[in-house]
């Protein structure tokens, strides 16, 4: 077994998962995790809750501080600025040289911008790291109005954060509907309405032209492509993230594109150097309908698990993610997706979509047009059982059968409203079918009246 020191740059979910699993498989190998961002692993996804006062930073740490020493995972607080692949050392901003046997690059992302005029003004920022959050805290003290640019997950989180501090938000979304490069139109419209219901000034199909400065070099307004000037004291730039691999740019031997290029074993072009998580770019996408750069919490975790296995076993396994899944929360609406539900439904798929009268709960199935097997599902405001759909999609269960037994997949809390009968009725009507309704007990009817 390889007991040369493992050095991991980045203590996010990918790097930390990798470190923990190397330790599971190998009790002795020295493991060093380096991060400039934070002393300990914390959950990046929870940054918004710190700003909103739901939690403190310490609550976002999934493991208590003694965990790392107990598992002999050494932690080092440093920013890595350079790397010597030949001598197998990495260099910290303080000038320290750190030798490695195996190097794992897990440096994550940074906010992406396209060079708008004024994007470096004070009060203009993205949101990815703990430092970004601290900056946002400072930038939003005592302000009245903020503009957010970019209709994705971080943008809507930022809107929610700002609203929680009673700061008015104008939300510029370039597309016709919120996140419609991922969500089909109907779902996107549910979210549009929900954003507006929260009092956000949602501007669809609007683009940022430039950010305007006051005399002190701070933002005072933005101008849209349509020429409208919107006064504001804060601008959130959230059009996406890009791999954070600045420190590798001078390394000709390590192949990079947007991210560090890796094969399906997370090997880079340099021996003993690997890349996982947001900063890795697959030479070949790891599956059909999957992207070459996977910037999701879950994939970061799976990259870490798989690489740790490969580094400690003689039979390396190619990265093979299973059925796609993801989730998000848009203000109060939870979203889950399993399988293949593209924003534009292609000809090979058929789809059935339902939403409740209030437009706050929605479900969409995609299924094979010819044989009727389930391909994917989107839900809004309705929790589904991951294990159920993982199996159903993998094994190609018939969509209609799933619909008839949807209660088995339901993961909503007890006594929650059961929408299955409505969905089945709507389906029967829309597709001229006659699936029978599930039986509903008296107690259930009485209890649901309570909600």
């Amino acid at each position: 077994m390889n007991n040369s020191p493992y050095v991991i740059i980045g203590n996010g979910i990918a790097g930390i998962t990798c470190a923990r699993h190397i330790r599971k498989y190998n009790a002795d190998a020295p493991i060093l995790v380096i991060s400039g961002e934070s002393e300990h692993f914390f959950s990046r996804t929870a940054l918004m809750y710190i700003y909103m006062g739901h939690m403190k930073y310490e609550h976002t740490k999934p493991y208590e501080d003694w965990f790392w020493e107990k598992n002999r995972i050494h932690l080092k607080r440093a920013w890595i600025t350079d790397i010597n692949l030949h001598q197998k050392t990495i260099h910290s901003s303080e000038g320290e040289l750190i030798p490695f046997g195996t190097l794992i690059i897990a440096t994550g992302s940074k906010p992406f911008t396209i060079g708008w005029p004024g994007e470096h003004l004070k009060g203009v920022q993205g949101l990815y790291s703990l430092q970004d959050l601290e900056q946002m805290e400072a930038n939003t003290q005592g302000i009245q109005h903020a503009v957010i640019v970019g209709g994705g997950l971080i943008g809507i989180e930022m809107a929610e954060m700002l609203q929680s501090r009673h700061i008015d938000v104008t939300f510029l979304v370039r597309e016709k509907n919120f996140w419609d490069n991922v969500l089909p139109e109907e779902e996107a419209k549910v979210i549009n309405r929900h954003i507006k219901a929260h009092g956000v000034d949602l501007r669809l199909a609007s683009e940022l032209q430039e950010i305007l400065s006051d005399e002190k070099g701070a933002v005072r307004a933005i101008r849209t492509a349509a020429g409208e000037e919107i006064p504001c004291q804060f601008v959130g730039l959230t059009i996406g993230v890009t791999p954070n691999i600045e420190f590798l740019k001078n390394q000709p031997t390590i192949t990079t594109n947007k991210g560090v290029m890796v094969d399906q074993f997370f090997r880079t072009s340099v021996p003993d150097v690997y890349a996982i998580g947001d900063c890795a770019e697959f030479i070949e996408a790891p599956g059909s309908h999957r992207k070459n750069i996977e910037q999701v919490w879950y994939t970061g975790r799976m990259h870490g698990e798989t690489l740790a296995y490969n580094l400690t076993h003689s039979d390396p396994m190619p990265y093979k993610p299973g059925i796609w899944f993801n989730s998000a929360k848009f203000f109060d609406l939870e979203y889950q997706t399993y399988g293949w539900v593209p924003n534009k439904i292609p000809a090979v798929l058929d789809t059935f979509y339902w939403e409740n009268n209030e437009g706050t709960v929605a479900i969409r199935f995609t299924y094979d047009k010819t044989v009727g097997t389930i391909k994917g599902i989107n839900t809004i405001g309705w929790r589904m059982r991951h294990a159920y759909f993982d199996r159903a999609i993998e094994e190609g269960w018939l969509f209609e059968k799933i619909l008839s037994h949807l209660d088995r997949a339901n993961f909503d809390a007890e006594f929650s409203k059961n929408y299955t009968p409505q969905v089945i009725l709507a389906y029967n009507k829309a597709k001229n079918r006659s699936l029978s309704l599930p039986k509903k007990g008296l107690i259930r009817r009485l209890l649901t009246a309570f909600s």
């Binding site: 979910i13 699993h21 959950s43 996804t45 929870a46 809750y49 909103m52 006062g53 739901h54 939690m55 403190k56 609550h59 976002t60 740490k61 999934p62 208590e64 929680s164 929900h194 219901a197 929260h198 919490w297 879950y298 975790r301 799976m302 698990e305 798989t306 296995y309 396994m317 190619p318 990265y319 093979k320 993610p321 299973g322 059925i323 899944f325 989730s327 998000a328 929360k329 203000f331 109060d332 939870e334 889950q336 929790r383 589904m384 059982r385 991951h386 294990a387 993982d390 993961f411 909503d412 809390a413 007890e414 006594f415 929650s416 409203k417 209890l447 649901t448 309570f450 909600s451």
Partner: protein, 514 residues
Amino acid sequence: MKTIQSLGIVLFCLALAFFSILPFIGSYTLRPELVEKNTKDIHQKQMLEILQPMYGELYSSNVAFIADFNKYFNNYNDALKASQSWDQVIWDNYALPLTKASSQSPVTENPWLYLGLTVFLAIVGALLYILPMYAGKLPGIKHDGIYFSSMKSKGLLGIITGSWLILFYIVLYWFPEYLTNLILMVDPLSMAISGNPASQWFLYGLIYTIAILVMGIRMFKKYKGNAYQRLRTGSVMFFQLAFAFMLPEILVLFNMPWHDFKNIWPLDYSFFYDYRLEGMTSSGALGMFMLIWGIILIIVAVPLLTYFYGKRWYCSWVCGCGGLAETLGDPYRQLSDKSLKAWSIERYLIHGVLVFAVVMTAVTLVNYFMEFELLGQATNQLHSIYGFAIGSAFAGVIGTGFYPLMGNRVWCRFGCPLAAYLGMVQRFKSRFRITTNGGQCISCGNCSTYCEMGIDVRWYAQRGQNIVRSSCVGCGVCASVCPRGVLKLENADEEGRLQDLPIIIGNKSITIKN
């Protein structure tokens, strides 16, 4: 809306101030006939003598009155104790009844007015604050700013609130004579319900019930659109009002022993004490029913219902302590300690209390059935130690007084012997678990933060492991606050409930055992 809420806070604080000051107004004069009326026949002669110096004297405050009373009373007892004449020592507490009888405070003249200025004004103030809460807001989690709130994150307001509660409990349990005016104030209400004058326990029960009802309404507002939270809140409100407050008083009205039918030994630690057993066995068919019902609860209801539903059927749906924790205590649920260390302390403490309660009860019962030949009255000593340390100090002073400092379930988590018993059933033989949803956890920590029992829910969720913990009271808040739909409280087949080596789904490359 904001103005109405601010007015509500002002009224509530005023009411609280009146409530805190009220005990200290009025004057006190003791007369021999009051002593005669309020002491037992066997003590009458001595008491009349002991308190002679006080007769006719006008005390301008309860503090001065009680100080003098204690002086004369303790002098008498101390002398007897010094000469080892234990059987002549007066153990009864006459401070409260005599202070109450001697009171000449305006409260006696006009109790309803003072009840209005304290308790009812507080209700009005609280409701003015609570009813407009979240008005116009969509259903969803309402935790914005909790960690910026002085009240909810151990700031100055939280510390002041905790200190007030601690003080109140100390006075209530050990110096109730100082609360005389408050007790006088609720006398007419007590007379109306049970036909008896109020004790400090009636006062306490009244405030306790009102706290659960008013803060229960707050829960309804907070959890708009969440049927589980609303149902269980409605349930604790009902059980507190009907079973813990009204029914026992009605029993008293019909000359039956005060009895809370939903209280279960060993939380109801005095259930097998001789005076309780005597009370039940001498109260006819209803008394026998109380006894048999109480035993059925212990040996049938707890295991059976906990098998089907987990301990939540009791702890967060029925129990009075749980009821207060889930309503009044809800704003403080995030303050519980989640560390592994706290968990290990918890296990020693709670099971220690259970052992204490069981041993004490066993000794008491054996002694009782041997007609006190085994230990004589020595079990009383044991009872008073338990009553003082566990029943009052732990459950009351720490249990509730520490809400704003250590979270709302300190007693339930570290001390309640019934919770320990329910927990053992829940851990080892139950269909209840919190299911985690495959690989959807993002380790954000909302679940752990808002777990009032200090369970590190995330530890399990992020490794895809069902949560099967003896302490879980099934409040369901972890599932409510989860932003990704990862947690679900379920009663299902025992198969697959415990997963020592869970597998997170989603990664087909390798099988990861977490």
